[in-house]
């Protein structure tokens, strides 16, 4: 009995020592080494890909923002973002999806409401959006709620509204969208996309420059 207790204690002691040594290797040295390399080679990326416009940081090119006025291109809905529930002295951006099921009536209603809003917002005199024209990404929330991009179809659909609200020609805004449309990587990886923040910065520069 005594012997087995001693053996167990000795074994647990070895386990603890192994854990501590491996914590130093994989939990201290490894992340510090990667951080060192990352900060030396890609400081901008490693610190969040922040974009500056007119000397001010206006966000990260990777993180989608909400709350653009209708003068600007609209992002995807983000109904799944969380709110700080612990450590509430902070107001952190909490990523998240709605997790609503494909047959949940709440989701059906959210999609239909979003579609009606997209149609209403983007129909301007001389250009009426048909409900069937609205792409799926315009009426659904993304996985992170921070999707920085929209599909080229959704950007295209917003061109007439944006042109009207900014006093620009439709052709000029279309060209702007084209310039900010990213194709698939290597021609087949991922989906074509338009980065909303970058597009809106370019739009603001264009209107400010007149």
């Amino acid at each position: 009995m005594n012997n087995s207790v001693t053996n167990t204690a000795r074994l647990l002691w070895a386990g603890l020592r192994a854990l501590l040594v491996l914590t130093v290797v994989t939990g201290v040295l490894y992340p510090l080494a990667v951080t060192g390399v990352a900060q030396a080679l890609f400081p901008g990326r490693a610190n969040g890909s922040e974009i500056t416009s007119h000397g001010k940081v206006v966000g990260s090119s990777l993180i989608g923002q909400q709350g653009y006025s209708l003068k600007y291109f609209q992002p995807r809905p983000a109904a799944g973002l969380g709110t700080n529930s612990v450590n509430t002295r902070y107001k952190l951006v909490l990523s998240g999806a709605t997790n609503l099921a494909a047959d949940n009536p709440k989701l059906v209603k959210a999609v239909e409401d979003a579609r009606a809003k997209v149609v209403k917002d983007n129909s301007v005199p001389g250009y009426t959006v048909r409900p069937a024209q609205v792409p799926a990404d315009a009426v659904t929330s993304s996985g992170s709620g921070l999707d920085p991009a929209i599909s080229p179809a959704y950007a295209e659909l917003q061109v007439h509204r944006v042109a009207e609200r900014n006093g620009l020609s439709v052709a000029r805004v279309e060209r702007l969208v084209k310039e900010h449309t990213q194709g698939r990587a290597l021609g087949f990886v991922g989906e074509p996309q338009v980065n909303v923040l970058e597009l809106n910065i370019a739009l603001r520069d264009l209107t400010a420059g007149r």
């Binding site: 491996l22 966000g59 494909a102 996985g143």
Partner: protein, 553 residues
Amino acid sequence: MSPVLAGFLQLLALIGVLALVYIPFGGYMARVYTSPKHLRAERWIYKGIGANPDAEMTWPAYLRGVLAFSAVSVLFLYLLQRFQGMLPGSFGFSSVSPAQSFNTAVSFVTNTNWQSYYGEQTMGHVVQTAGLAVQNFVSAAVGMAVAVALVRGFARSRTGELGNFWADLVRGTVRILLPVAAVAAVLLVAAGAIQNFSGIHEVGQFMGGSQQWNGGAVASQEAIKELGTNGGGYFNANSAHPFENPTALTNLLEIFLILVIPFCLTRTFGVLVGSVKQGYAILATMATIWVGFTLLMMAAEFSHHGPALQAAGGAMEGKETRFGVGGSAIFSVATTLTSTGAVDSFHSSFTGLGGGITMLGMMLGEIAPGGVGSGLYGMLIMAVIAVFIAGLMVGRTPEYLGKKIGGREMKLAACYILVTPTLVLVLTAASMALPTPPHSMLNPGAHGFSEVLYAFTSASNNNGSAFAGLNANTDWFNTMTGLAMLFGRFLPMVFVLALAGSLAGQRPVPATTGTLRTDKPLFTGLLVGAILIVTGLTYFPALALGPLAEGLA
């Protein structure tokens, strides 16, 4: 190019890259576990542990090493969270509650990475980097060690010796996981994943005002989270978060990292048992199921059945624009057919059948290709069962790799495959029968049941993904999923190591003309069939109540 074609091409590219590394990387891992030499850094580590890496262990000794190391790990990680409030470098985040700390500690030590917490508002730098990420390495290395011990059981004869646990643990970490993770982490940063130790800071916004973000060693954790088939996200949105998975290319890279060790370990197995053809037969079984599931998933998601998805005109709810339906479908299958559980899109909002495919993937026992190590030993157990079934059909004593599959071996294999179904079905039934747990469901009807079934399937199989609408941060779910993860991880390991000991002690049986050839396509077919039938019969009633009811409605 249509999104469907782009999806296929991404799958093909993935297969191509995996095929390229299969022989060199599988062979490298075989050398790692057989080389008589120790690296200088490893000698220092052994000195720190106080272990002799050359001492051979019997199966009970090997198991004791696994259990002692894991027990200490659970306790350490639990205490780290309980004392977070006092740790520097933690944004001043408060300590985590006891039930949630227990759940999270068990979750990361068992290679599950089920998360009932919100990463960005709960865990500071120290817990993430020196606690959770460490377990991403070592829990994976433990899985590989157990798999290698089982392979030694097949490869060795008339001995009780299965190798040295400490040496296998350290070598897996230092020679396999660390170098690959380091390279992958730098690639992730190059594409935009963050890697810093900044505190919580304000970042300006386009329309004015600002957002609050926390920094973190995200890329270094992301790399090992995928490579070690762990899956615990730094952020709540996991690999859907742009700071974890910034582009479509990193998405493919992460899927590659998830799959590379489990697939290549079949080569390691082939080399160690002296017949790479045996490795190919296992590989073919894994690949058949993986490709089949991926194609089914793409079919389900591209056809976007379900009222809300029909209304939207595409299955984009819970999916990111940059990955699209194709990239998300490939990721979701890779993560649920391995024990990863990372997500780049939210399975709860998939089509009913798509959600069912993710569940079935886990229910197969995560063996195609499965978690690092656990996939290989799970598949070898199924191979033992398949040769037994074949033996019954022709009335011969079954053999596998020159070892007799007798009563003792079959009992151990049968115990192995009974563990997870028992946990999943009993705990799901209990949750549905009790008055309070169903309050955690987000969605009504069949999908609500699926959320609970998914939770226990994920926990018991050490996956960690979720139909994340379920509010799992209750005492019931924290405790029960915690127990499911513990038993789902370590009971099977007991049976695997006991089987390894029993096999190693045998004298080899020479192959005759009557021996079932286990390196032929016939055996692969038999094995696929055995896997699907055993699992299908076990889980079909539960699946019918959840995803099938939803998908066929």
